[in-house]
Assembly symmetry: C2
Homo-oligomer: 476 residues x 2
Amino acid sequence: MPSAASRGQGHDRRPENEDSSAADDYAKERYGVSSMIQSQEKPDRVLVRIKDLTLEKADQEVWVRGRIHTSRAKGKQCFLVLRQQQFNIQALVAVGQHASKQMVKFAANITKESIVDVEGVVRKAFQKVGGCTQQDVELHVQRDGRATVNQDTRLDNRIIDLRTSTSQAIFCLQSGVCQLFRETLIRKGFVEIQTPKIISAASEGGANVFTVSYFKTSAYLAQSPQLYKQMCICADFDKVFCVGPVFRAEDSNTHRHLTEFVGLDIEMAFNYHYHEVVDEIADTLVQIFKGLQERFQTEIQTVGKQFPCEPFKFLEPTLRLEYQEGVAMLREAGVEMGDEEDLSTPNEKLLGRLVKEKYDTDFYILDKYPLAVRPFYTMPDPANPKSSNSYDMFMRGEEILSGAQRIHDPQLLTERAKHHGIDLEKIKAYIDSFRFGAPPHAGGGIGLERVTMLFLGLHNVRQTSMFPRDPKRLTP
Amino acid sequence: MPSAASRGQGHDRRPENEDSSAADDYAKERYGVSSMIQSQEKPDRVLVRIKDLTLEKADQEVWVRGRIHTSRAKGKQCFLVLRQQQFNIQALVAVGQHASKQMVKFAANITKESIVDVEGVVRKAFQKVGGCTQQDVELHVQRDGRATVNQDTRLDNRIIDLRTSTSQAIFCLQSGVCQLFRETLIRKGFVEIQTPKIISAASEGGANVFTVSYFKTSAYLAQSPQLYKQMCICADFDKVFCVGPVFRAEDSNTHRHLTEFVGLDIEMAFNYHYHEVVDEIADTLVQIFKGLQERFQTEIQTVGKQFPCEPFKFLEPTLRLEYQEGVAMLREAGVEMGDEEDLSTPNEKLLGRLVKEKYDTDFYILDKYPLAVRPFYTMPDPANPKSSNSYDMFMRGEEILSGAQRIHDPQLLTERAKHHGIDLEKIKAYIDSFRFGAPPHAGGGIGLERVTMLFLGLHNVRQTSMFPRDPKRLTP
């Protein structure tokens, strides 16, 4: 089994099967450490994917490249589990016509997590192979099995951690969230935009923003693409979305805060009422949920084995409650809170449970937040001066989207900024964007890692960020 | 024509049609400045898109919301061109049963770039309307035409600039490039990943990197997602791609350099030869070119009106030349250069022209660059110690992708880094990533703005970046 991949032996590699009995090893050409693949040749050999090893391939000879997941030697046999992403199969190396006792010993000594090339015959298993995804078959290694031996593995390293079936499934599903988000919006006539991350002024007043040195001056990292989405609306792009990093210099060390996360952002001009936009956003999320349940059932089940949870439930059309309805439900459950008070995290979670009990949905919209708890650029509710045309969306009782109709009138925007005590000089460019004629518009930003976490019923956003960043973590 | 959108008059707005003759204006209810849309009502009114105004709608009454593109009064008539993104139509307000002379005057005085709501009847045009996309019809404004008047417009503002047909077409096509890139790769079994932009160490030695203050320490902005793509390969994701911002603190003030641009990145494990990856990348670009020519013909033609150029040509399969073949072609054309010398920008362009003459393609691959001119992590060519398993791809003679087989063996990687005089301490984390077993892999990074620019035959990358960033520009 010669190496298909790296090991730390550089140019002086030599076979490792040189033991005293090498002379009488009738299988000595059939295993060992291969030379590093440096693109020297293009053999015709076909490598079969482990997930394709099913009963249909019974009795066929195949080549497979996989990781050694586990290995167990037992007398003249060695059982290996070979893994490829989420899939694995049992392989058997047994002393006989094709394998010598030295070859079995060699196989048994390969370090876990090594990459091996194996040739064998697919055989129907006598009984279901427990613990493997390919339960109906096993691979009988019979000739030219070849393997690489690795350096010591360190299981506390993220690279290793990402190899587990659970991680593989989480990030395949997350790729699906992005794909479904964009697929749905492109079908709805949206245009994808790219917005700058290095900006000259901190748009929302200057708190919680990272500073960058920029040649002889300094700049900031964008806390959201909102200003640029709105500028695209003013530039007549009508319906836009973007997917990209969002930076928050908040010293929040919670299960759901990151200093860098991926924002799925939407902004849309509407005709008469911001509910036109709310409906589009809610439907986009519903299409994501449906798409995940249709296309990623394997991944959902893989994650569920390690982290069991109830399947995610949602209604069509999406349930939309007004803020005051939510407050009434909480009060009925014994919570004391004012009409214009914001929801605390525990109250959000409690409300999520109450909504689930009453409406049987894990996803809903809370509309018409108190004006006082929303940013200055939020459009006031024309019917109630204490309310606003703004909304949050929740999954399993946690906020995944915050959005609003934005004020598109520069004079009203100026008044509201003054009311919030914001330095008008600092947001001049923002206000000026609306002086060239802006259509009414609304939008919102979705946190990708939160959607993945809550859809799968996980409990920490670091599980759904490949290389998470928080106030205490900058590596790997 | 009451306003559909913003103007700077806040809450004290009043109709602007109060002139001395208002008393005898029989159409005075039919026009004026509307109240700001604050989502007060949800009327049943349907707004028809300008692009849908064709002969099929002749003699129908429709409501349209658009920008005033041009306006020209002539006696008792006013001709307006109404614009919506790339599409426009001529509208006529004429004194008669539905419009008074005051209403015509009001229409003629609306500032360009204002947003107006207009009701009218679609009429077959007597002759083709030159200068409009909807050439066969015009809109006869007949009642309740309503408009908003804007603040002064400033044409040097990017928001205004993005409203032009050319800009609308450029960025719709750019959205298409991203869409086709991902669509193709997902079909090929790739997984989309999200990589961090704030990193703890400058991966490629520390030059040209932006510094960020990160709580009590400092960090850097990623110059490419390469390390993280490679870590995903080591974590068995097998085939990955990502789309995201890339930061370069280079003080390059050229037509093709930005300090922040969008990278379309690919990384892929292969079986035996890195050409497996080269073929996948080249085919992905070919699928993008084909998709653009199939789905974005309107946009290509719109841009071509302002910036005429030859249609983009490519071959299937993609032409792949070896570096030394390119050098030979240049020498034949009179260029003097050494075998191990890198291509200068003028020589790249000249080679592009020579390749176009000889092979009739605007897209080709230059393979097997001299080892000396590539980064330390580039896999040497096993057949020639002066060459490497690396490649660039070119569109119209300009580089749009740089890529290579990466060294996946930590010992060889260490040797090559030493040879380049790189401080091993600074890249320890990078080298360590390969100590847990890495499959052979290759990849590359594509510059989105360059692909859009060169496909459309444009001459400055700032035309294909919505909000470009260079050493001298940080706004808007």
